[in-house]
């Protein structure tokens, strides 16, 4: 059984139709990537899953239960956390306070503390800067914090919206290595929206290519990687 199953999802973004019936699945412990040009509807898809955008139609099933009209609070508790586009860390909150907010929906204090230690082990830089304000961190550190904040919800599935955007190539590599680690060592399923097609298809097992609110192509990442023509036509860039 797949962990997350989206079927025929339709959504508007303001007056614009953003999703025209897309179907996506994330298996337990899998890494799935969502590719496509700007405005393809990738972010809207993630926001529908996390409950921030209310879809117009279709179904979203989480571990077999329909979760279409649940609040983000409920969905976070159920085990889906989001690392938003542009990181969106709280700039006036310290690193520790940002992590604390990631764990807002939880009340198991002892576990929260040990999870914070785990995040600090994953990103030692954050530990050094735990008292600093989020806004004072560098771009790479902010991305670490955004991921760490997502992990503090103790998710089974982590949604990542353009985690490599705006980072130096070396940092991009680090971020993708972290994602692999989260998948292999922490056992997390990941749904990653990316513009960095090469990297995304390297770490993921399955990929969907979206255009104008529809899934145009999908398949195992290894196959998509070799299908240069497909990528070129839907990404608008030669890879």
């Amino acid at each position: 059984m797949s962990l997350l199953k989206i079927d025929g999802l339709e959504a508007n973004y303001g007056p614009v139709t953003a999703l025209r019936g897309i179907s996506i699945e994330v298996p337990e412990g899998g890494i799935v990537t969502l590719l496509g040009a700007n405005g393809a509807g990738k972010s809207t898809t993630l926001k529908c899953i996390s409950g921030v955008v209310k879809p117009r139609g279709g179904t979203i099933e989480w571990k077999g239960d329909k979760i279409l009209n649940r609040s983000p609070n409920w969905i976070t508790r159920a085990g889906i956390a989001q690392v938003p586009e542009g990181r969106r860390i709280f700039k006036d909150l310290s690193v520790s306070e940002n992590l604390m907010m990631g764990a807002y929906t939880r009340s198991d204090r002892g576990q929260i503390r040990s999870d914070e230690e785990r995040v600090f082990e994953l990103f030692p830089r954050l530990k050094e800067r735990s008292k600093q304000l989020g806004g004072s961190l560098s771009g790479g550190e902010q991305q670490m914090l955004a991921i760490g904040r997502g992990l503090m919800a103790r998710p089974t599935l982590l949604l990542l919206d353009e985690p490599s955007l705006g980072l130096a190539p070396l940092l991009v590599k680090d971020i993708f290595e972290t994602l692999l680690k989260l998948n292999q060592e922490w056992g997390l399923a990941l749904l990653v929206v990316e513009q960095n097609v090469t990297m995304a298809l390297k770490v993921s097992q399955f990929g969907y290519v979206m255009q104008l609110g529809q899934v145009m192509v999908s398949g195992p990442s290894a196959e998509l990687r070799n299908d240069a023509k497909v990528l070129e036509s839907y990404m608008g860039v030669a890879q």
């Binding site: 969106r88 709280f90 909150l93 907010m101 807002y104 929906t105």
Partner: protein, 289 residues
């Protein structure tokens, strides 16, 4: 004489500061300039008279009850009036609080009359001496309370989950929502906090300025001016502004004449806005309203 003026200015200023904090916290989490903030305290002061005089309750029990009632008032205003229009533009929100202001004035007048009432509890008029400056016991007492409440607020905003969440909401409401922070609940808490502060302000200020439906009008305006000192965003800026206003108006009243006392705050705000429209404490990221 000078030290004395400054000290009692700080005492009044500390009550402006509490009001200013409430104005700032509500504004930055809900885009609402809450004109009824003073009237929450006014209702609290009248309730204080009821509890102390009519019911014969102990002073500390009265404080507890008044603060509890004002928190409920804050909750009620949010749930019944502000929540249904929460997504309106700032002018609608602001105008609505003018409505609440008049409703609360009316309610107070209806139940307790329009006359000025003396608060049943007054301070010993004998002044006390602090390092050569003489200050009334009432002022000293209020300053102590304001400091204690300030400490409680500081702890709330820095060490509790709901307090940090309130700041997170100020920072980025959409990101907060994505993290599963229940934004509506935090907004409700924000109005409750405004009520909490107002309850204390009402009971503390009542013995000094007497109780009437209009008692808080001037305090609110000064609290609001102080909030503008912090760009309607920074709590520290608002507190500094409030203390400056308290001291400046006292000095102006003492050295120039009592007729200029009230005008002082406005002169200060005009000068401030002319030179630092973003407030005293530089806030670049103040949200557009």
């Amino acid at each position: 004489m000078l030290g004395q003026q400054i000290l009692s200015g700080l005492a009044t200023g500390s009550l402006y500061a509490l009001t200013a904090i409430a104005v700032v916290v509500v504004f930055r989490n809900t885009r609402t300039i809450n004109l009824a903030q003073g009237d929450f305290a006014m209702i609290g002061a009248f309730l204080g008279i009821v509890f102390l005089k009519d019911w014969g309750l102990n002073y500390y029990v009265t404080i507890l009850l008044v603060v509890a009632c004002c928190i409920v008032l804050g909750f009620g205003v949010e749930r019944i009036i502000m929540r249904p229009i929460a997504n309106s533009d700032w002018l609608t929100l602001f105008t609505t609080t003018i409505g609440i202001y008049y409703i609360l004035h009316g309610v107070a007048g209806l139940f307790w009359g329009r006359d000025t009432k003396a608060f049943p509890l007054t301070f010993d008029p004998t002044p006390v001496d602090i390092l050569g400056a003489v200050i009334s016991q009432g002022h000293l007492y209020n300053m102590g309370w304001a400091l204690a409440i300030g400490a409680v607020l500081y702890a709330f905003f820095n060490f509790t989950k709901q307090g940090v969440a309130m700041r997170a909401l100020t920072d980025d409401p959409e990101a907060a929502y994505m993290m599963g922070i229940p934004v509506r609940f935090i907004v409700l808490l924000t109005w409750g906090l405004a009520g909490f502060i107002a309850g204390f302000v009402g009971i503390l200020i009542a013995p000094i300025i007497y109780v009437s439906p209009e008692m808080m009008d001037e305090v609110l305006v000064k609290g609001y001016v102080a909030a503008v000192f912090g760009g309607l965003y920074s709590i520290q800026g608002a507190v500094i502004g409030a203390l400056l206003i308290g001291v400046a108006e006292n000095l102006a009243g003492g050295y120039i004449g009592s007729h200029v006392k009230t005008a002082t705050a406005f002169v200060m705000i005009v000068v401030l806005l002319a030179f630092r429209p973003q407030g005293l404490i530089g806030i670049q990221k103040r949200r557009e309203i």
